[in-house]
């Protein structure tokens, strides 16, 4: 199970590596990818046209979905009786890992590590503030996720609910129009929160 989680959680990076190494694909791999492309509308055999946007979206979405899976574990146990809670820390850390990459892309590439610039963006743009707020919560959770510290800071981890709300708003604001897909994603996040609140 642990291996499966590692494979699943790292698959976005494998996908990125696949997209950026198109020129070096052996013929067999290329043929396989082309046949997959013909079944589902997904681009596999082309280097991303807007590479920075591609990477930022990929790691941002990966963080969102891994966090959603992390949140699913408790309702999974209480409603269906499947207990995967021992993997919660690992999944949560993977969610944080992608959030870290997402934030680093903004701080490093967008703002070129100019912290005054980062601060200006956070203060002047709610869209950035929501994302950064969520990231700081995940950062605190990641730093206090060892057995010893978790025992001490357990109640702090309730902040994840705030993080999810911030992420939902940040996600909706990242698009020019709100489509059915976006509503579905945000609906899923709120459903996961609701499942926990109802239980209490």
């Amino acid at each position: 199970m642990r291996i499966l989680i590692w494979l699943g959680a790292l698959s976005p990076l494998v996908y990125a590596a696949l997209r950026f190494s198109v020129e070096f694909h052996p013929q067999v791999l290329h043929d396989i990818l082309v046949s997959i492309e013909s079944y589902i509308h997904v681009t596999l055999t082309k280097i991303p046209t807007d590479p920075l946007k591609f990477l930022s979206d990929l790691v941002g979405n990966s963080a969102l979905w891994l966090l959603a899976i992390t949140l699913l574990l408790t309702p999974l146990r209480s409603y269906i009786g499947i207990n995967f809670l021992k993997y919660r820390r690992l999944l949560g850390l993977f969610a944080f890992f992608y959030a870290l990459l997402h934030a680093l892309m903004f701080i490093g590439i967008d703002q070129q590590f100019d912290l005054i610039g980062v601060n200006h963006e956070v203060v002047s743009k709610p869209f950035i503030a929501f994302g950064m707020g969520a990231f700081l919560i995940l950062l605190i959770m990641a730093l206090t996720s060892t057995k010893k510290l978790f025992a001490k800071f357990r109640s702090w981890h309730k902040m994840v609910y705030i993080a999810v709300v911030l992420i939902a708003i940040h996600y909706l604001m990242s698009h020019k129009t709100i489509t059915l897909t976006h509503v579905t994603v945000v609906g899923t996040l709120f459903l996961l929160l609701a499942l926990r609140l109802v239980k209490r």
Binding site: S21, T177, L180
Partner: protein, 308 residues
């Protein structure tokens, strides 16, 4: 490091393609005249006057320009228009020019090109979202078209409208998750008459593909891309300020002028820098997208922070 190396290899192969483009052009002109003789459009090549003043801009590849498109009439997904555009029919097309003009006309594209010969223009193109490209357009100056219909003292603004046909534009049948249709854009008359403003009918020497706004679209290189309306069916001159779809959707985010301006941010993201398509590094965005010499005089007494 590894990834960058891979990327560079792609880049160089595509640059080769672009250099061939210039040799290929003579061939295409030959082909175009052959087609004209035969009377049947076998080959979607155009004849045009070649751009003389290439400002040393590195062209974005034809593949990138034709597969990465913001065209909400097809989809909000940038890779979808190339796929969804197969049923689009840009051939039987008429463009109506009316409103405050001396003579109203309705023309097809061939008639228009006979009237005003096409020329090539290599322009920077900057999207409000933060990406950019360099496109070798083929088109005719809008000013020539407007001179042809004749302006009056009441010709103060120009409104453009995209085709409304949900059969050809699938997303126009949608009610949720998109913008309002038909798409409309507008220019002030001096902007419309500026020599840079182009009605494009092609790119890379070939007729426009549907995903790029076939058969005729606007190109206003010093403004954000959404001003450069695609697949135009009507041009109407008005005395008062005209409508602009994105401006109406979100007036705090998209201005009527929408001049490229690195010092006025979008409420959600900075406009100071941009991502050239196909590159891993951002570059500085230029005031008026680098066309200040040609256009800055039109905004001398305008507060560009207020009228963004």
């Amino acid at each position: 490091m590894l990834i960058r190396k891979n990327y560079n290899q792609i880049g160089s192969s595509e640059i080769t393609e672009e250099s061939i483009y210039y040799q290929r052009r003579d061939l295409m002109k030959l082909a175009a005249s052959a087609v004209a003789l035969a009377g049947a459009p076998l080959f979607a090549a155009l004849s045009f006057e070649r751009e003389k003043a290439n400002r040393g801009l590195e062209l974005t590849s034809y593949d990138q320009i034709t597969t990465y498109n913001n065209f909400y009439e097809f989809s909000t997904d940038k890779e979808a228009p190339a796929r969804l555009a197969k049923n689009f029919k840009p051939k039987a097309w008429t463009l109506s020019i009316g409103g405050e003009v001396q003579k109203k006309v309705t023309l097809d594209i061939d008639q228009l090109l006979k009237l005003i010969p096409a020329q090539e223009r290599i322009y920077r193109f900057r999207c409000v979202e933060g990406w950019s490209m360099v496109v070798p357009w083929v088109g005719i100056p809008l000013a020539s078209v407007l001179k042809h219909v004749g302006l009056t003292s009441k010709s103060k603004f120009v409104e453009f409208q995209t085709l409304f046909d949900p059969k050809q534009f699938p997303a126009q049948g949608q009610t949720f998750g998109t913008i309002s249709f038909p798409y409309r854009e507008g220019l002030r008359i001096d902007e419309a008459m500026n020599p840079l403003t182009l009605l494009a009918v092609g790119l890379y020497g070939k007729e426009l593909l549907p995903q790029n706004g076939a058969p005729i679209r606007l190109v206003v290189p010093w403004k954000y891309g959404f001003k450069s309306i695609k697949s135009i069916v009507s041009i109407t001159l008005h005395e008062s300020q005209t409508r602009s779809t994105w401006n109406e959707m979100a007036p705090k985010e998209y201005g009527f002028f929408a001049n490229v301006n690195p010092s006025v941010d979008h409420p959600r993201w900075s406009q100071a820098r941009e991502r050239p398509l196909g590159r891993f590094f951002k570059q500085d965005t230029l005031m008026f997208n680098g066309y200040g010499k040609e256009v800055a005089h039109m905004y001398k007494n305008v507060d560009l922070r207020k009228f963004f």
